[in-house]
Symmetry: C2
Subunit: 338 residues, 2 copies
């Protein structure tokens, strides 16, 4: 019973004109006799004709689609990246096609293969697991590509990411500026570049202030709330400090819970700085001082850059983003009652 979709030929027959004329009416490429145009419109409406994008694209018309690959969307972070990207693309008349990589190499590879087959005009890859080699192969095949949060030396000009070292130092300097000298760090999984860089920034800031490095103040977590709680529990058991820099907001939230469970107060007894400025940081108690990861605007800039690449322009290299700190209620001077 599956009636097949009407084609431009059916419309032409119904309107008593040639397919070329129908095409012209629909695309407005050439003037067409008003009466015929009207007949075409009527026929289109009556038959429910929708031009076949495949046939059109087959003509070599550049697709107006851009592929976007993100690891996941279950938490807010990547959703905000995608929002920025989509905004930029839409502005330029492109549509986003978004796929999830789930942090698995094979899944990501499949998604990218689909994009390539679909002849997308360009690609945005957000911090994915596909090996550098494959990404470079894509780039060499003249696919416009922009990377978010990933370093591949050859593509550095087309990668936008946050300056993690600077950011880690920024958070730590804030605590140092308040007068803290014993500052712990709840790190992310140290097999992740970002986590290592934030740790490096933490060390950098301490060194600037002439404070000796003490690895017993660094506790590795896994970017999860539970990991943060657990790392902080270990910290409270084994070390002596008045402030903590946590490598993301989730862990900071877990750390706050651990501090409370230990019968201490934030920030009175222990100040804490998070990282990301996700919704979480507004809802913890006390509200979290954190590093603002300007993730939506980074997505936006990635999209703008990509549009230029697609247009054949040679845009200036994408910058390393230096974020700012958002002060809320989880930090104060040591010993100060607040």
């Amino acid at each position: 019973m599956e009636r097949t979709k009407p084609t431009i030929i059916d419309v032409a027959r119904a309107a008593g004109v040639s397919p070329s004329t129908v095409s012209r009416v629909l695309n407005g490429t050439t003037a067409v006799d008003a009466a015929k145009a009207e007949r075409v419109h009527v026929a289109v409406a009556r038959l429910g004709y929708v031009p076949n994008a495949f046939a059109r694209s087959l003509l070599g018309h550049a697709g107006r689609w851009v592929g976007v690959l993100v690891p996941q969307l279950a938490d807010e972070f990547y959703g905000r990246v995608v929002t920025g990207i989509e905004d930029g693309l839409k502005q330029g008349g492109f549509q986003m096609v978004c796929s999830l990589g789930h942090g698995e190499r094979s899944t990501e590879a499949e998604a990218i293969a689909m994009f390539v087959e679909a002849r997308v005009a360009g690609l945005v890859l957000v911090s994915d697991h596909v090996p550098d080699r494959d990404v470079l192969a894509l780039a060499r095949a003249r696919h416009p590509i922009v990377l978010v949060n990933r370093v591949i030396p050859e593509l550095a000009a087309h990668a936008i990411r946050i300056d993690n070292v600077y950011s880690g130092a920024l958070a730590t300097r804030h605590l140092l500026g308040l007068g803290h000298t014993r500052i712990a760090h709840v790190a992310g999984s140290l097999n992740r570049t970002g986590a290592r860089e934030r740790l490096e920034g933490y060390h950098l800031a301490l060194r600037e202030h002439g404070i000796a490095r003490d690895d017993r103040l660094v506790f590795e977590g896994d970017f999860s709330e539970e990991g943060g709680r657990e790392a902080m529990t270990r910290a409270l058991d084994s070390a002596d400090f008045t402030a903590v820099f946590a490598a993301n907001d989730r862990m900071a939230a877990g750390a706050i819970a651990a501090i409370r469970e230990a019968g201490l107060r934030t920030p009175d007894d222990i100040s804490i700085v998070g990282f990301d400025n996700t919704a979480i940081s507004r809802f913890t108690y006390p509200a979290l001082t954190t590093v603002d990861y300007p993730v939506t605007s980074m997505g936006r800039r990635a999209a703008d850059h990509l549009l230029q690449l697609i247009a054949g322009a040679d845009p200036p290299p994408l910058p390393l983003i230096q974020p700012r700190l958002v002060e809320r209620d989880s930090t104060c001077a040591p010993g100060e009652m607040r």
Copy 2:
């Protein structure tokens, strides 16, 4: 300099066989002489040939793509829906193509038009603004469609949504069960169906317990944190109650802040129940008792249903979801110290 992409004909020429043979090697449809197959593989690799999905799809091969339209992805909620949908689709061998509607009718209409032109195999529409009439037109044109969180009577069998009345009653009954009798409600924007239904559930539960309806205990918010804080401030000024049911977690978080600012404690002085079970509810202090909106699994079921529609099956109607309550630390019996 833009070298055009190699076609199957180029590969055939390079391998010294016909295009048909190349197609057969690549798709494995028919046995091919091993030596020739090898030559084809070599040629494909050397030329970097990628089959053109448009040409393939033009043959009427059903596309393996499904269009998904969501309002936005900037907060966690829709991200989780999408995660569930994508999971289900991938399971069935389909790829998700996701677009954002931004709650605007024209944007949504454009996205849907793109999906239709791309000949997606089906559509999942999440709570969108396109008028019923247009959705019905799509359905009549034999597009498999599943709706999430939206009621269109003619498509009720293909719509999955939460039972808001039941849910509102569930939250309220929990408070009643603890012994509360003066229970306030911080409602969502009452021009939204969901908000009105939750309010209805609240009234229903009170009636069950023989408690007279008192409209002075209902305060309209706007689903935002700030709206919740403000509604709760008004509530504390004007009414007398020992518990609150807030129509979502964001407003509940705002309400908790307002309670704290008023010098009261949660749950000792005022118990509070939220709605959604988003990450927020784990991070507030005290952690929020809330209605678990099983949003990922709903997305998953929507996808499964759609896959059946695409396969031409006639799946059983999608259910109205009755969620369960997640008890955390924001509720206790009135007067009880906790």
